[in-house]
């Protein structure tokens, strides 16, 4: 099965890291993964995206023409990337900076990623991993243990504990969203 995920936001929010961890996790879980990110000035301050294609089959085409899952941390990213979300696709928005659009056949979930980061960690830095957790809690794409291993493999050791906790907080939010 093929799942196409796009993370969108502003450079500096950790969008690329969220995508990298997801791709790494998929590889560790024995899936095929392909991804590409904004590169250059876009990755450093303005609109930014990270795409991940996951599949148990070899991946012919590694870019996204359409997304099954979109997770965004800025209003601009939502408006720019919403058109590529498939009918029946799932959209996650961080309610701190994004106003959820009206329901139009896609499933929208507005989640407090940044608010949870500020409340639990005293800063916004973990919001990206919380949002990654939300996606993983709501959509079965990659086993969580593989994601934990990917975090340990990707993030500096002194940040492991905080990131693993942020992931769990996000997964809880995602599971709650799934039940709605």
């Amino acid at each position: 099965m093929l799942t196409r995920v796009r993370f969108g936001g502003l450079g500096g929010q950790g969008i690329v890291l969220a995508g990298s961890i997801l791709g790494e996790a998929a590889t560790l879980a024995g899936l095929n993964a392909a991804g590409s990110n904004s590169y250059g000035a876009a990755a450093r301050g303005t609109a930014c995206r990270s795409d991940v294609v996951l599949s148990d089959e070899p991946i012919d085409y590694p870019h996204l023409a359409a997304a099954d899952v979109l997770a965004v941390m800025s209003q601009a990213a939502l408006e720019k990337y919403l058109p590529i979300v498939t009918t029946g696709g799932v959209v996650f928005v961080d309610d701190f900076s994004v106003k959820a659009p009206p329901d139009d056949g896609r499933r929208f979930h507005s989640v407090p990623a940044t608010a949870t980061a500020v409340r639990e960690f005293g800063g916004r830095q973990s919001a990206n991993i919380i949002l990654l957790g939300v996606v993983l809690g709501a959509v079965d794409v990659v086993p969580l243990d593989a994601v934990r291993d990917a975090i340990r493999a990707t993030v500096r050791e002194r940040f492991h504990a905080a990131n693993l906790r942020a992931l769990d907080l996000g997964v809880e939010l995602g599971r709650a969203a799934r039940r709605v």
Binding site: N32, A33, N37, P62, H63, A65
Partner: protein, 334 residues
Amino acid sequence: METLAELLPRAGGVFVQMEDEIASISAVIGASWTGAKAMTATSGPGFSLMMEALGYAVFTETPCVIVDVQRAGPCTGQATRVGGGDVMQCKWGMHGDVEIVALAPWSVQEMYDLSVRAFNVAERLRLPVFLMADEAVGHLHETAEFHDRIAVEQRDRRKGFPPFGHGDPGGVPPMPCFGDGENLLVTGSTHDERGYRKVEEPQVHARLVERLRQKVLLRRDELVDVERYMLDDAETVIVAYGFTARGALAAARELRGRGRKVGLLRLRTLWPFADKEVAALDGRARRVFVPEMNHGQVLGEVRKHFRGDVAGYGQTDGEVIPVGTIVREVERLT
């Protein structure tokens, strides 16, 4: 390159950052003559800057690998955007008549596998080998398998032979290195088999240039590398390479789903060109379609060898060619 800077010294290698691309390729050539396997990587105008020294590498039969991650040009162009406009440059950017080998990876796996192959071909043929990637492949993250052991072509460093040929047309002479104790003359001027400058003798020049060409041409069957997808009954064949070939494969599958008999001939080598493989489509396929991120650099080669209908689609806006575009263009032809 940043990764190599970190990893190479740990593996006993050397990483040097030079002041520009002219110095980089020149240092690579020098390193190769000490016996090292040497490479550099560049993009855009950096590739242009390397051209003179690359001609020197061809003429002095210096094994080396050049990775060109093609981007939108000409000139500085869009430095972070994709392009495919260097296909002809790697073949004809050096003045004079040269034959080189250029490989076209389409995945992270092939960036690795074809780098290994590039080094092996460079050593076997004593010439620069080009890994003609593009930005979309260069910035791709992907599942890939890296091997504990790889087949490595060892350089023939036997002493006592003429280091620039010995009458064998297309022959690859042994290459002793600086420090091996041989009396070596290395020059970019016309030279005889021992390396002595012979800039006034037509026969010496003709013999040398012809041998350098035949080194590649006589081995074209072992060098040319293509992949064939769904060609058996294909009425329309897409010929593509690099990242565009992945879009072409997805498009071919989509078109098959709509009942169109479409296949893909994927070029994993750009040079020497897959002339026989393209010509073999004659009489089987009705038409060939060549999408590429330039205005027809491979299209022209395909036209030389396929006698049926040939159409191209060139896109040079710094974006990859979407699958949907290839589907649309093929449907328009059929």
